[in-house]
Each structure stands twice: as C-alpha cells, then as structure tokens.
Amino acid sequence: MPDGAYNYAYLDEQTKRMIRRAILKAVAVPGYQVPFGGREMPLPYGWGTGGIQVTAAIIGQDDTLKVIDQGADDTTNAVSIRRFFARVADVATTTRTEEATVIQTRHRVPETPLKDGQILVFQVPIPEPLRMLEPRETETRTLHALTEYGVMQVSLYESIARHGRIAKTYNYPVLVNGRYMMSPSPIPKFDNPKLDNNPALQLYGAGREKRIYAVPPYTSVKSLDFEDHPFEIETWTECCALCDSKESFLDEMIVDDAGKRMFVCSDTDYCQERQQQHRPEKT
C-alpha cells in the first residue's frame, strides 16, 4: 500500500471491529438503525462516508469492488471513492455488476439482477425515514420502538389529497420484514421493487448521522401504499437512445441550446452490456 501511515483499508482494526459488530446487529434486526461510532473519513460528510466506512470494514483483498453514483461508474464521486479503495485497500475494481463482490452505490440499485453472495452498500444521507416529519431523534426512536408509523401514512395520504397520487419520487419509505419503516436512501422509487426479496445483502451506512442498517437477503421490503392507491414506479414513453432499453431508469439530457432532449440509461454498465450484445464488436 502506498500510504504506509494508514492501516489497511484506512480504518484502524479497533474501528473496523466496532463497525463489524454494528453490521451484525443490523443484519439481525432488519431495517433497524444501529447507532455506531462513526469516524471522520478522508472524504467529506455527505459524500458517502457512511458507505465508505461500511465498505472499509468489510472489504478484503479477495474482493472486487464496483462503485456507482447516479447509476454510473464514471461520475466524479464514484471515481473518487473507487480510487480511494484501490489506493488504501489494494482491491480489484470493476464496472461490471456481475463481476463485483461488493458494490457501493449512491442513489441507484443496478439494473442487472444481483446474486447470492454479493453485497450492496448504500450511501445514506438521512437514515431516518420519519426525519422530515419529526426532526427529533428522541421522538422518532420512540415511534420505531412502538411501531407507530401513522405520521407517515398521514403524510402520504395528504399527498394523495393534494395531487391525486403519492408525489414522493425518491427516498420512498419501505417497511422491512413487516416491522421497521426504513429509508431506502435517495434511490428513485423505480428501484424500490428491487430491494424486495433480493438474493444480495444490502448494507446501509450513514456517516454523519452515525447509523448502520441492513436488509438481509430474501427479506420482504414493501413500499408503503394504500389499497386504492397502490405503489407504482416511474415510466418513460422514450427508450434509451444508446441501447434501446425500455426497462431501465433513464437520465434526461439536454443536448443543444434549443433544449432538445435525449434519454439514456442511468446505469452505464447495463447500457454498455446491452450495446455490446446488440452490436457485436467488429474485429
């Protein structure tokens, strides 16, 4: 490792043990936010320090790491975090979802289905799903203890009353294993169904707020809704301009001064895989 002043994967071993213990409790109580002694990381709070701490505590030389931000491997923050781990953890990196053993993500779940044995690490800004409805930790902790989630139901119902639909589009609250209400992090609600009964382990790290939570593999994750207003995801009339996908989450891009739009897959790996399948490489 080039930076001899720091331990393997940056964190000292005592800190890793503390985070590892928190992760095990998080897995044992799915969706419950475990407080942990979050440390300063060499990247700023709000830029993925929770995810980075979780990744640093689990990663090893046998791993292959993929890092995405907004679904893409080549966005600046994804590049920065991938370089950080290549530097401090001497770990192989990849952009291919199916090759990765650990995937750290901000704001997306890959389109390619995950497998048993993979770990998806989410970067979480505000872990408390009720925070914008109740700013006090002392209050929200009690609400979780009592499974008292009426305040969220009321909020969603008000949205229906005002807009005719639930207008919440990302960070859409879910109920895990029928017990804990959980923030899925600011993924678009398009990705919520992928969290349910997923064969991969999902770990969520909130660095500034010092919370870790988890969804074990094959665990029920239900997006909140009402019988007369069932949960639904975003749809596009367009398809991806690069790979023709009609199933993936599309980013909208403004391509000229006249405001002309183009839609492409947010998940760059998925898009490239499809492009290669459709147009075999010329030799």
């Binding site: 700023p44 966005t75 589009t169 993924i187």
Partner: protein, 367 residues
C-alpha cells in the same frame, strides 16, 4: 455527444493537480514552513487543534498549510488523521489549578488570590492596521517577569463555593471517559458528553448561540468568574506501572462562567457554572462554550427551555463543522437521478392540471 458524465477520472486528476498548484501559489515566493505557521499563525493552529481534537502543533500547522488557510478544511484533515490513531488509554483529568498561567483574569472580583494577570491579549489593542508589519524589520522582545511555576493557582469559583454561593462542581464520575469520537451520540446526553461535543464544536456556531443567550434567547446572566490560559501537565497512569507519569505539557484556555440562578424546588438561590475549555489560546471559543454549556443545563436546573441554545438535540446535532460543511457541500454532487424522478412526477402533475383546466373550459363552453 454523450459527454456529460464521462471523463471523470482524468478530470479529477487534473483538478487535484490544480488545487495543489493553487496551494503553492507563486514560485517566486518562498514556501511557508510549518514552524512559521506554528509561530506566526499560532491562534489558527490552536483552533485547528481544538476543533480537530488533537493536540499536535506540527500536524495542525501541516493541515493549515495543506488547506491553504481554510481552517474548517484543516480541522477536517486533522480529524481524519486522528481518527485512525490507535488508543492506549485515557490520561488523568487535567488539573488546571496546576497551570503555569500566562494570563488569568476574573471579572467578578477586583483582585483575586494569585492576582489578575493580563498577559498577551488583543482586548486592549486599537484595531488599527499596523502598517509597520507590512514592512520588513524585527521588533525587540517584550520583557516578561519570571513565572513562578511552583505556585498553585486557586480557582475563583472555589472561593465562592466555600461560601455556598456557587454550586459545587459535579461529582467526579468514575466512568466519565465515554469518548464521543468512539461511541455514537445518545440523547438525552449527559454533561461530559455535551462538553466534549461543544469542545469540538464550531467556534462560529457556539459564538452565535452564546450570543443569542445574551440577547434574551435563554438568558442565564453570566459573569466571567475566571479565564486562564497557560501550560498544564498531562499525566498518564499505565496499567502495568500502576502510577502516574507526566507525558506532556499542553497549552489550554479555561473559562469558568458564573451565572445567576433563582433557585428551584429544593435548591436555594445561588450561582451556577458554565464551563469552557480549549486547546491553546482561544478565549472566544472557551467563553462561548461556557455560555452554551450553562444554557444546556436548563433541564437539570428546572428552567424553562424554550430557546435554541437550550435545546440539547438541536445544539449537539449541529455543532460540528466537519459534519455541517460536508453535508452542505454535498449538494454539489450529482443528483441527476432524484431530479429526474422529480421531473417525471412534476410533468405528470402539470399535465393533469392542464387537462383539468382544459376540461373546465370545455365544460363552461358547453353550458
């Protein structure tokens, strides 16, 4: 062309080069040394050590140099180094009565045992730019009287306390060493935890909160019982040795704030304490900390807690500059996906409103 999110790797590498270049500035000028920063920007070093929770002047100076003088950034650099250091144990509590004080004042008594020692302070300078500093040239050293290092300096508060006028200091808690940099904040917090949080807290944030108490948002009628600045020994008792050894001498600023208190159900009227401590020379920080510490004791003293400075959860959750700076600045990160989701739903809602309006017009036309 599909270029908006491409080329991240090269762009970042170039940006890193550029910021390193900016830091160096003009090559026509000599590079700052860490010793120069330590000696000539000493108060910046003090602040970085305090809020960085790491007493090391050379590392703090390095952080300031690397951050181009941005102290919040420097605090962040030092914290991110500190957090990786292994722990050997806890030192004994500092005994500030053993301080070799360079400065020590009380605003509650005209004279106090040990005397008022003005020491180095900007308090009585005229804030006129001193253009002689812009020119080269040395100034002669200031004469100082020899310091009596052997004399213990009693606290002003102790004198009031003997009379029963001031509440006694909190009982020595055998297990007061819960380290907030190792364990997460649990609310409600006890006073040792609050004090640690405030000691690391952003000076500007604490200053504004302390100020707000003086303007009526949770007033606690403060007097500066005492401010002292100087060197104190740090002692450590390794388990295998079984006795204390002195491992360092550090500079600290301590503020004992004395506050009026009307009394409560079973406490007679008396003065109460607010406490501030900072590394190096940092009176503004220590005083602000003491004001906020006292304000946060509202619950314990059965006072009405209605103001921001008295709101423990609000204060403790927002005092840390490294957390605050990071989260505010994370808004610079891409949010394409969330924004896209919002675009989709806002368009849908707008289309529905337009459709309803069109229908209304048609209905009205049909009537």
């Amino acid at each position: 062309m599909y270029v908006a999110v491409k080329g991240g790797e090269t762009a970042i590498a170039n940006s890193l080069d550029l910021v390193a270049d900016k830091r160096r500035g003009s090559r026509d000028l000599a590079e700052l040394t860490l010793e120069q920063i330590d000696q000539q920007l000493g108060l910046a070093v003090d602040r970085v050590m305090t809020e960085g929770s790491c007493y090391d002047r050379a590392l703090a100076a390095l952080a300031i140099k690397q951050a181009r003088g941005d102290l919040v950034e420097a605090i962040f650099l030092l914290r991110a180094y500190r957090t990786t250091l292994p722990r050997f144990g806890d030192t004994q509590p500092l005994d500030t009565t053993q301080m070799v004080a360079e400065r020590r004042i009380s605003s509650t008594f005209k004279d106090v045992p040990g005397g008022q020692v003005l020491g180095p302070t900007y308090d009585y300078t005229h804030r006129l730019l001193d253009f002689s500093l812009a020119a080269a040239g040395e100034r002669p050293e200031a004469p100082t009287a020899p310091v009596d290092a052997g004399q213990a300096l009693p606290r002003v508060g102790d004198i009031l306390e003997r009379e029963g006028m001031l509440e006694p200091p909190p009982a020595q808690d055998g297990d007061a060493s819960q380290d907030i940099t190792r364990t997460p904040l649990v609310l409600p917090a006890d006073r040792p935890v609050r004090l640690q949080n405030l000691a690391r807290g952003d000076e500007g944030f604490l200053l504004a909160l302390g100020y707000s108490t003086q303007r009526g948002y949770g007033n606690n009628h403060p007097f500066v019982g005492e401010i002292r600045y100087g060197q104190v020994p740090v002692a450590f008792a390794p388990e295998e040795l079984g006795f204390e050894i002195e491992i360092a001498e550090i500079d600290v600023t301590e503020c004992d704030m004395v506050n009026q208190f009307a009394g409560a159900h079973n406490i007679p009227p008396q003065f109460t304490r607010g406490y501030g401590l900072a590394f190096g020379h940092a009176e503004r920080k220590a005083m602000a900390m003491a004001l906020v510490d006292r304000a946060l004791r509202a619950g314990e003293l059965s006072e009405n807690a209605t103001s921001p400075a008295q709101d423990e959860e609000f204060v403790l959750s927002h005092s840390d500059s490294v957390e605050a700076s990071g989260f505010v600045q994370h808004l610079k990160l891409p949010h394409y996906v969330d924004f896209q989701s919002e675009l989709v739903v806002v368009r849908t809602l707008r289309a529905e409103v337009e459709e309803r309006n069109r229908q209304t017009v048609l209905d009205q036309a049909a009537e």
